[in-house]
Every structure is written in C-alpha cells, then in structure tokens.
Amino acid sequence: MNVQSKIVKTAAEEALSEHFLNALGSLPGSPAVVQGRDKMFDALMKNGLPTRRVEAWHYTDLRRLLGSVPAGAASEDATLQAGLVENAKVLSILNGQIAEEIDGLPEGVSVSSFKDALADGGADLHFADTELDDAIGQLNGAFVSDGYQIEIAADAEIETPIELQFVQSGEQAHSRTPVVFGENSSATLIERHLASDDAEVLVSSVSHVSVGKGAQARWIIVQAQNEQATHLGQVNIELAEDAKLELYVVNAGGKLVRQEIVADVKGSNADLVLRGVNLLGGNSHTDVTLKLGHNVPNTTSNETFRNVVFDKAKGVFQGQIKVAQIAQKTDAQMACNTLLLSDDADFSAKPELEIFADDVICAHGATVADIDPAHLFYLMARGVSEKSARGLLVKGFVAEVVEDLEDEAIVDALEDIISDWLQKNG
C-alpha cells in the first residue's frame, strides 16, 4: 500500500522544511533546476517521510527512525583520508563540496563538477523517473549541492582505481554522481563515505551509473561512517549490451543506513555481479534494498549478500528481481545469508521474485542463523579458543564474499575494513 493519510509533521520533517526554505537561495541551480528542486521537495513532503505502510520502506520506517536532522552545512573542516588503495586517484567531496582543483586524471577519464551543471541547467535530476516511494531520490534532488560527473572514454582501459571520497565533519551533505562508462571501456570506481568521529551527520548520495556496450565496470561502495551518521544512498544502474558491472557494497558504520541499488539490465548479454557485506552492531539500523530489472533476453545477474548482526542492531535486506516478459533466457541468482549473533538483534529479509518470462532460471535463497555449532566444534577440537573460533568463522563468512574480486589490493583493503570492524565490535 503506497498511500498515507495526511499527517502532522515530525521534528525531522519540520527541520527539513525549514532547512529547505533557508537553503533554496544558496543552492546552485538554473531556474529549471530550482523548479525541479521545488517539485522534488513537495513530492517528499506531500506524504511525509515514508513509514512502514509504504511497501518499499516496510522494514525501515524512516519517519520514525529519522528522529532529528542536523541543519545546514558543517562548521568544521573535513579532513581528507588516504586512499583505500595506494595507487588510487582520490577525488574528494568534503562536506558536500568539491574542495580542490580537478587535475592529474588518468588519460581517458574526464571529470567535471555537478555544481556547474546545476548552475548552467545541464544537470539531470531525473525528476521524471523519480517514483512515489523514492524518498532518497526526492530528498537528494531537493538538496543536492555538488558531485563529480565522470566519463570514461570509449575503449579506454583505466588501470588506476578512481576513488570518490566523501568526508563529512558534521551537518548535512547531498551529492550526486553521474558516471558514464563508454563503449568497451574498463575502469574501477570506489565510492567511499567517511565521517569525522562523533559528528552527527545526514548524508545522501545518489549515483547514476551507465555502463556502455561491452564495457567492464567495477563499482565499490564503502560506507564506514561513524555511529551517529545517517546515510541515504542510491545507485541507479543501466547496463547496455555485453556490458558487465561488478558492484561491491560494504557497510561498516552508520546509525541509520539505507543503501538502495536500482539496476536496469537493458542490453542483451549484460551481466551484473553484486556482492554485499553488512556489518551491523550497536543500535544501528541498516537496510540494503535492491530492485533489479531484467528487461531484454539473454542477461545474467548474480547477487550474494552476507550480513552479521551484533548487539541491538537491526538489519534489513530487500531484494527484488523482476524479469520482463521478453527477457527470456534470464539467469538471475540471489542469496542473502545472515549470522544473527545477539538475542537483541534482529534481521528481516524480503527476497522477491517477479517473473513474467517462462524460459528463465531464477532463484533466491535466504538464511538467518547463528554460527553452526559443528563448525565451532571443528575448530575448538583443534585447540582454537571459542572466542577466536567464533571470530574466525564470522570473518570467513563475510570475507569470502569480497574475495571474488579480482584485484588483490582492493580485496586486502576491504578485508582490513572487515577485520578492523570485527575487532572493534565483535
């Protein structure tokens, strides 16, 4: 049910409205963009923030969970961190703004600022395809201030990983990242979200990733913000003929996190590989929502998500695979495995198949369980203490997923993030 009755505004909604009124004058944008922002914000406020009665937000009642909203921009400066991997070209967004000159790019990569595009009206806020329940698209569209527009030239093979580093030292930031992988190009992009210690932040990040014909793209999302952070992320993906995208998502932080992945497989022989690791602890609430559409014949997708849930954390996985009537010979496989390690934690999964073509292989699996006592016994019988045995098993459970990546440096970096997180929270 996607209908909500008119309701009294919550504190967060009030704060957003006030912030919107104050900020509208200073946000970049041509008249058309300003009009777009207005529409987006009206659409968001018309029904209020989504509640559990909105099916897409059933397990993440944003209206209830978003208690307060930090207003305006950060006061302190955000500090740029070292790249995730040594050889990466780091492009930073500090507190929602590009703070440095764009230079030293590998050949075949062109980058421009989304702020400029907003100002001259060339920016696409995707208003037309923002759906009713797309609160993230609406919020981001209303407030977006900057971002990198990236284009990988056709046939370019970019060896250097490009890291988009978003660092937030407080308050709010809303960025948008349109990326085009040209025909037959190949490149690796890292989207990394960080926040200064203890700063209460609200970050929204929307990417539009278009993978051209025959292109090989890798997109790695690392969300490792502090325990106060609210992160609303959305990646919109389009895959052309023969295109391949490997998407890795690691969530290792945040208080309230929703990461949406919306993928449209629209070229035949396209292949989407999606791997996710969600490390949940404390009082956090983390939601990964996938909407995957196979819309032409002969395409494949494969998704594996591994979640570990400690303390009083709450985890959500929603995965919808939709196979259109013409999309014969689709092969779509999805798995979501969860280790629920505390009686106060909870995890909800909704793996969904919506199939309109008959000659397909589609499957999903979902499990929720504690550590297998047989595995534990095996290790303990070999003299490993229970604590380290559990540690090993948990690490193995999640790390396995990132090992599919054929880039050792990135695999090591992701494994370090996992180990550090488990060390601190496990």
């Binding site: 049910m1 099916e55 059933h58 009537q325 014969q328 969860t338 629920l340 390690l341 505390s342 009686d343 106060d344 934690a345 909870d346 995890f347 909800s348 999964a349 909704k350 793996p351 969904e352 198949l353 919506e354 199939i355 309109f356 073509a357 008959d358 000659d359 397909v360 292989i361 589609c362 499957a363 999903h364 699996g365 979902a366 499990t367 929720v368 369980a369 504690d370």
Partner: protein, 489 residues
C-alpha cells in the same frame, strides 16, 4: 526452464475449459433481500435461531466493517465489489438447517452425487466408497446434512454445522469463536464475522483420536450469492483430527464472492490436519465469471507440542487471496504448510502462509509449488517470523514456481523476520539445497537428481496427501509431478 509437452498436456486437463463441476442445480430457494445492512444481519441471525450474544457480535463486526477499507496490497486486480449487490443468505426451500438424509431434497442429494461426494452412510458402510468419511454438506448459505454424527458422538467428537453448534454448545463456541481470527482482523474476516451463514464446527475432546476423517463440502449454487462460511475446529489435549474441505460452483458469467474464516485451535500435544482441495469455478477462458476467494485461515498452536498442518491444492477461483497461517504459541509446537497452486486462464492467485514463532523450540515447514499457465498470475506471499522469546525457532521454506507459456507470471514475496539469535531460518527458491543428505543418499545409489528430488519431495508431501480422499490424492499427486518437473535448474 520451459515445460515439456507432457506437463503442458497435464495442465491443459485442468484448464478452465475443462471445469467439470459447472452445472447448476434447479431447486427452489429462499433468499434474504439483496444488500447488506443491520436488518439482513438480524434476518440471518433470526433464521439461525441464534442467542442474543451472537447477534450482538455480528452487529459489532458490521459496525467495525463499515469503517474499514478494502485491502489493496495483494497482486490481484478486479473491479470494485458492490457489497450491496449480493445476496447474503440463500437456502434451499424448507432447508433451514441440517436434517437426516431421508428428509433432504433428492435434487440436492443428486447434486452431491454428481460432485462425487459420499453422503449416503449405507453406501460408505457397505464399502461402495473406499474410505469412511463424515461429511458436512454446505449448500449456499446452509448446511444441508452432516453424516456419521452419531458414530462420532460415541467417540465424544462433536461435528455439526456451526449454526447448530451455536444453539447446542454456546459456551464452547463463545469461548473459541474469534479467538484466533479476531473480529477486527481484516476487511473480509470482519465482513464474514457479520454475515457468516454456515460452516462446520468440530470439537475433539481430550485424548480422543477422531475415528474418521471429517469433511465439509461447500457448494455455491445461487446467482449473485456470496458464501460466507465459518469453520471452527478445536482439538483438546492429545486429540487428533484430520479435516478436508472441498468446494465447487456453477459456471456463470458473474463473479461471486466467497469470504470464509477458518479457525483452528490445538491444545497440548494435539494435532489438526487441515486439507483443502479448492476447485471453485475459475471463470471462462476470457476471464469472465469465477469466484473471488478471499479467505482468512489461521491456526493457533496454543498448547505445548501441538501441531497444525495445512495442505492445499488450489486449482479454482478467478481470484485467490488466502494465507493459511500458524501461530506457534505453545513451546515445541509445529506448523506445516504444503501448497500446490495452479493458475490458468485469467486466474490470479495471491496465496501463501504465515508462520509466527512465539514459543520456544517451535518449528515450521513451508513447501509451496506454484504453476502458472495461460495469462494467469501466481504469487506466493509468505511470512516467517521469530519473536524475541522464540528460542530455537526453526523454519524451512521452499517455493518453486513453474511457468508454462510466456504470457503468465510467477512471483515470490517472502518476508523473513528473525528477532532471536538461536532462530534458524532457511528460505530457498531453488531445489539444489533440499535436504542434501537425502539427495546424496539417492544419488550415491544411482538415482538421477531429478528423480531423486521427486522421490524426496513426494515422500514428505505424501504423508499429508494420502490423507486426502482417493480422487483428491490422485489429482494432487499428478499436480506434484508437474510442479517438480523442471525444478532442477
């Protein structure tokens, strides 16, 4: 994978055009005026000679219903129902309630004979029919006859129409009615609470194993009539009962509403097996007519180590909206749901189950096979949840769908919610992981994978299927054969 010819043929046999039960019985009926209001409810209540509390209960439900909205979350689409264009009460003339076989209108008996329902006790006893089975036959709004009542009474089992039970055992009915599906539960359940006309009541006392299978056969005959049945089954400590439900309706161009409520209660160590072969008229090949089957079925495993098992073979109805559920309240209780849902023509099915784990050491199993053909849409929608205190909750869910033709759709919408670390939930929409030990055992002995899987699934569904009457079991087994085919990816 695409279906092979044999499967296609088999499904065609149960296609909408092949509906065998579409005839109409010419019989004089008595109807309440069309429409829904307090007077109609008073009329139904008076017809049934009900005590005041029952009428009050109905009126309260009606008042509540007026404030509710029709649910729209299911994946089914149909024109808005005009609830005032329906007859809420229709009974064969002179048939206000069940009577002895000799008094029943022979035309009615012929109807049931044509449907293959054994109403004659002599025939059953003489071994003409294979199995001994007690039947409550509900025709439109009333129960016309209940067989083997005396023999059952000897064993202490109460089996009668709910209208009779309200008169004869008001305390029992009052204690349990609405305790599993509250009056306010959902739109159709609330409507049912206001206007239900008949249905079955079963009470199996402590320690009694019901000596025969019980069965209710629902038949909608009249035009523009809704059927609102209410079934209540109670199994006391250590009791056991197996109950079957069948349903058919004539072939008509109009859509008819069937909104039933079924409530099951098991106390300590009790077990209820509830099997349904739902074969309401599905509409013609262009999607005209057919039954709207909006049903609320729920079982409450109230006692420790109690068990409720739902088996359903769904082949009929234009629209099915049905989620037989188990509330696993008692420690060690167990819920099962085995379903085969076949949709063809323009049928729309949105069905599944809910397993709500509340007690410790509870377990549940869900096996759902959906087969869609024609331009039908078949959705499995299910929920499995373990609450904070449901230590060691276990669930295994398997949903397989088979599509025949590229005009239909098959959908799976499971909701899996775990709030306890010792819960162990497995949800699979593939067959590769089905009890790998057993599979390995078969494979190691040279049985090919597909056959092995057929063997295993048939094996554990069989124990429920074989409880069905012979003709149902054969039909169901055929369907399982189809549903398994092509399930090895």
């Amino acid at each position: 994978m695409p279906a092979v010819q044999e499967t296609i043929d088999q499904v065609k046999q149960i296609d909408v055009d092949q509906y065998k039960y579409g005839f109409e019985t010419e019989i004089e009926v008595e109807k309440a005026p069309k429409g829904l209001n307090e007077d109609i409810i008073r009329f139904i209540s008076a017809k049934k000679d009900e005590p005041q509390w029952m009428l009050d209960w109905r009126l309260a439900a009606y008042e509540r219903w007026l404030t509710m909205d029709e649910p729209d979350w299911a994946r089914v689409y149909y024109p808005k129902i005009d609830f005032n264009d329906i007859y809420y009460y229709a009974a064969p003339k002179g048939q206000d309630g069940p009577m002895t076989l000799e008094d029943v209108d022979p035309e009615l008996l012929r109807t049931y004979e044509k449907l293959g329902i054994p109403l004659s006790e002599q025939e059953v006893l003489a071994g003409v029919k294979q199995r001994k089975i007690a039947v409550d036959a509900v025709f439109d709004s009333v129960s016309v006859v209940t067989t083997f009542k005396e023999e059952l009474a000897k064993a202490g089992v109460i089996f009668m129409s709910i209208s009779e039970a309200i008169r004869e055992y008001p305390e029992l009915v009052q204690k349990y009615l609405g305790s599993v599906v509250p009056v306010t539960d959902n739109y159709y359940a609330t409507l049912n609470s206001a206007v239900f006309t008949d249905g079955s009541f079963v009470f199996v006392p402590k320690g009694v194993r019901c000596p025969m299978e019980l069965s209710t056969y629902f038949r909608i005959n009249e035009e523009n009539t809704g059927q609102f049945e209410r079934t209540l089954i109670i199994a006391e400590d250590e009791a056991y009962v197996s109950y079957l439900e069948g349903c058919t309706a004539p072939q008509r161009d109009e859509n008819q509403l069937h909104a039933a409520v079924v409530e099951l209660v098991t106390l300590d160590d009790a077990e209820i097996k509830y099997s349904t072969v739902q074969n309401w008229y599905p509409g013609d090949k262009d999607g005209n007519g057919g039954i709207y089957n909006f049903v609320t079925k729920r079982g409450d495993c109230r006692g420790k180590n109690s068990k409720i098992s739902w088996t359903q073979v769904e082949t009929g109805s234009a629209i099915t909206w049905k989620y037989p559920s188990c509330i696993l309240r008692g420690d060690g209780s167990r819920g099962e749901f085995y379903s085969i849902a076949v949709s063809n023509g323009h049928q729309q099915v949105d069905s599944g189950t809910k397993m709500i784990h509340l007690g410790k050491d509870t377990s549940s199993r869900i096996i759902s096979k959906g087969i869609s053909a024609g331009v039908s849409q078949n959705t499995y929608r299910g929920q499995v949840s373990a609450h904070r205190k449901a230590a060691n909750a276990r669930n295994f869910t398997q949903c397989d769908s088979l599509l025949i033709g590229d005009q239909c759709g098959a959908h799976t919408v499971p909701y899996i919610e775990a709030k306890n670390a010792s819960a162990q939930f497995e949800h699979e929409a593939t067959t590769s992981k089905i009890s790998e030990d057993q599979l390995f055992y078969c494979l190691a002995r040279g049985i090919p994978e597909e056959e092995a899987i057929a063997l295993i699934v048939n094996g554990f569904v069989k124990e429920v299927i074989q409880e069905l009457p012979m003709e149902f079991a054969v039909e169901a087994q055929k369907l399982i054969g189809i549903s398994l085919e092509g399930s090895v990816g």
